[in-house]
Amino acid sequence: MEREETIMWMHKTALTIVTGFAATLLTASPHMTADAQDTVNIGMFTSLTGPSAIVGKDMQRGVELAINRVNEGYEVPLKDGSTRAIGPGVNGSQIRLIVEDSESRPQAAMDSVRKLVNVDNVSVVLGEYSSGLTLPTGQFINENGVVQISIGANSPKLRDVGPFFFDMIGLATLQGSAMVDLAEQAIGAKTFATFMPNNPYGVGVELAVCEAAKERGSECVATVRYEEQKTDYRAELQQANAPNPDAVIFFAYGAEAQLVLRQAYELGLNASEKWFGTEVSNWVNEVTDTPEIAEGVRGIEHDVGGDFYNEQYAGPYEEAYGEKPLTVFGGYGYDAAMIAALAIKEAGSTEPDKIREAVHKAAETYKGVTGDKAVDEEGMQTNEDYAILIYKDGGLQPYTP
């Protein structure tokens, strides 16, 4: 008898939960439309849970910093040294930032983007970091004629998304030539091996490196695409090393890079001489306990820093959040949001075609905290500054080949 009562109670609870959610969905509707009239909505989808959560959170902070400035009124620095006043708000209304969690999963990313476009009627969508999430959602956003500014994704395939799609970070193709140049200048490398994660970013860089090598009369002798989250990479490492390449171009995420570098060190692959990494700052904290495994490894990183960056972004960031910027990508989020706000102001309306045109113009004149933000006709960055670094004495230091 007691058990039956429990079951009845459970039935009722389950029913309440379901009704509750249904009610939430239904009541959400009038709430949204009422809001849409007195604010300009900017949407952002970013990974707040899952493997990319730290980058995702940092990007959210960067975007918030920019939107808060615009809502309070701000003098935006331009490339020619002058400033442009914006705000409070744009076109007489405050900007409302709506952030959705993409969970680092493509299906959840699509859910969040659908909500932003269909329910919140946002004028611009900002995000994402992962190319695997940006490609499918970009296709949908573009089809619906909404402007999207991607923050950290850099797969070369993004170029084909469509006219409403923009990118705030240089595509992998630019990284490819930077890497080949570095290895050539540093050790005169003629044969290359790539050691990349088997995802759109990794494969994008691999293709770009081999293309750049071919253009310079060199060649790729091994292209290893490894599966992420494995506990052993010795087989893949030896595969990359087998044809005895002059240089190995590699990338790995945080803790995984620690494992890769440790195993390369144990196998005696001479990483300090031959290994060159892309986006090296993403594993710098993970190797602090065993600095010998990364000693002498050279590589590139997005060139984010300097006085302008500190004064415009890193300083105020620390004031607002009580810690230094978590990654380099928050700055790109800041620039994306600032350009979006400038474009909406320039367009004078939330009409997608006008905003799209205005983004091109705004990106041309705006002085980004992460460097020059000008885009080409397809909305991709024309140029990206990379810092050349070497891991030495427990940290990354500038390096001149």
């Binding site: 429990t6 079951i7 459970m10 039935h11 389950a14 939960i17 379901v18 959610f21 249904a22 939430t24 969905l25 959400a28 509707s29 709430h31 949204m32 439309t33 707040l48 849970t49 959560a53 959170k57 959210q60 952030v99 959705e100 969690d101 969970e103 999963r105 493509p106 299906q107 959840a108 699509m110 859910d111 969040s112 659908r114 909500k115 269909n118 329910v119 695997g132 490609l135 499918p136 296709q139 949908f140 089809e143 619906n144 797969s155 070369p156 395939k157 084909d160 088997n198 995802n199 759109p200 990794g202 494969v203 994008g204 293709l207 695409r225 599966e227």
Partner: protein, 307 residues
């Protein structure tokens, strides 16, 4: 808002078809398939390859996806049909990962197509006949109709001798053996049928989402289907659809919570995971047969209560 609800209903329909097919294999036949997403993946990929690369008409491509998934279901069961439950479960998980790794490492089309990049710009059926607003509505109606047909098909299968045999199989090998049935054949046929329906869900998904990549078919997705089946009630076809509705609602309605309650979005994401986990634990503890348990056939009335 309406557009978003239409989208949700479409996704519920697609996932509903997928959970129906898992229910046919697990809930009815008792086959613990931990690689169920493989059928969804094959349906999606084969249909896309046929339509985008081979230039087949969309509906023919979808049919090819269904056939491929059904054939793979049978193929998967062929060498393993005599394995015991736990070994069987492991082999299904491995089979799904093998297929995913094949797609992850196969370039399809240009240099930036297939492999890790996935396939984009997948054409949508009958797109030219609708405006962009009404197309989603059309697709929802189509998906829900297919869901209804699949539900009817499942009910029909259960009423056939084949259906009764696979149900007996779930309770142990002895009964069907005693009746002179070949167990392996029934397992293979059940896997093929479930696989075909799962493939249909995948094909519908690919041509709706217009983009697929190996990232969509990670083992995690199989467990989401499992959550739907267990929550709703394994063995009951309506139950698993209710389970699908609940899981999808939790995933999406929690997005709206932050518009009413001042709550951090990152916290909300974690809360969503906790909510689903707690719900499943509660269901397993207090309602082990799910929210809508399977209705057992009664062969005789229970003895009248003694006064």
């Amino acid at each position: 808002m309406t557009d978003f609800l239409i989208y949700l209903a479409t996704m519920v329909g697609i996932w509903g078809i997928l959970s129906l097919s898992l229910n046919l294999q697990y809930g009815v036949t008792g086959l613990v398939n931990l690689g169920h997403i493989v059928f969804f993946m094959l349906g999606a990929y084969i249909s896309t390859i046929m339509v985008v690369l081979a230039g087949w008409p969309i509906f023919l491509g979808m049919a090819a996806g269904v056939v491929a998934a059904a054939a793979f279901g049978a193929l998967m069961a062929l060498p393993t049909s005599n394995l015991q439950q736990d070994y069987w479960a492991i082999s299904t998980l491995a089979a799904a990962e093998i297929v995913r790794l094949v797609f992850l490492n196969t370039q399809l089309g240009g240099p930036y197509s297939g492999a890790a990049f996935g396939m984009s710009g997948i054409p949508r059926p009958l797109r030219a006949y609708f405006t962009s607003g009404s197309y989603d509505l059309f697709y929802m109606v189509m998906v829900l109709t297919v869901l209804a047909i699949c539900l009817a098909l499942c009910w029909w299968v259960l009423a056939t001798p084949f259906g009764r045999t696979i149900k007996a199989l779930r309770e142990g090998d002895h009964v069907p053996l005693a009746l002179g049935k070949r167990i392996a054949t029934f397992r293979i046929r059940s896997m093929a049928l479930g696989g075909g329906i799962g493939g249909l869900a995948g094909a519908l998904f690919a041509h709706y989402n217009a983009f697929i990549s190996p990232q969509y078919f990670l083992p995690l997705e199989t467990f989401i289907v499992w959550a739907m089946v267990i929550l709703g009630g394994a063995g009951n076809f309506v139950g698993v659809i209710v389970g699908t509705v609940i899981i999808q609602s939790i995933y999406n309605s929690t997005r709206f919570l932050k518009d009413f309650v001042p709550i951090d979005q990152a916290l909300l994401g974690s809360l969503r995971m906790i909510l689903i986990a707690v719900l499943i634990i509660l269901v397993i503890l207090y309602m082990p047969k799910g929210l809508i348990p399977e209705r057992r056939r009664r062969y005789e009335r229970p003895p009248a209560a003694q006064g």
